[in-house]
Amino acid sequence: MATDGEISTKDDRAKGEAPTPKRSAGRGLYILGFFLLLCGPIAYGIEAISFEHLTVPWYMPVLGVIGLLLMIVATVRRWSVLRIFGLLLFGLLPFGEFLFLWSHSLLPKYDGPIAVGKPLPDFEIELASGDPFDNTDLLDGSATVMVFFRGRW
């Protein structure tokens, strides 16, 4: 007699073979989607904490959306309370990831003194060589582009 979660056919019984285990439709798809959903934040955490390397993690929401779609497909194929609960719990994660990237890509509105045609104020910074660099160095005839960057992390 077949137990819960197992099916057996007359042919199986006739041949004396072990019954084929019954698999829930789309379970693998759902697990794969869930794995992809979590993959982005985990990879970003490893990148940022273990390697101290910060990049724009565009892969995070992309993996999240793919994972969410797989979970939705699996749930449509066969719904269960657990699958719907998982979707509700983790379904907003990719949108949160998009929001995270969008909010961190915004720069504050510039209201500072830089304007076309206006001279730079007197300043002095230090080149990596140890030499000073100031306004007078901008007057040697060559154009200079000053690129402000966040840092070497």
Binding site: Y110, F123, V147
Partner: protein
């Protein structure tokens, strides 16, 4: 740092046009030296006193992973 890599890779184009690239951050001189080693074709500068960045209002607060401030990513062409 990606932008510095791209600028460093195109240094021949800038040199032909007689354009000098000075990359500025709030980091220390020692950190600027390390960055200089990574991008030898650029002029890396330290503005750790914030003299220039504050005058140009280019401080972006609390954006350093360690909790400090950084320069807001900006390019300024000067002659």
């Amino acid at each position: 740092m990606i932008e510095l890599g791209q600028l460093n890779a195109r240094h021949d184009d800038f040199r032909q046009r007689k354009v000098r690239i000075v990359a500025v951050s709030l980091e220390t001189l020692e950190e600027a030296r390390q960055t200089q080693g990574d991008f030898p074709q650029l002029f890396i500068a330290s503005d750790q006193t914030r003299d220039l960045s504050e005058k140009l209002d280019l401080i972006h607060e609390d954006t350093n992973p360690n909790g400090g401030d950084t320069s807001a990513p900006t390019a300024v062409k000067a002659r």
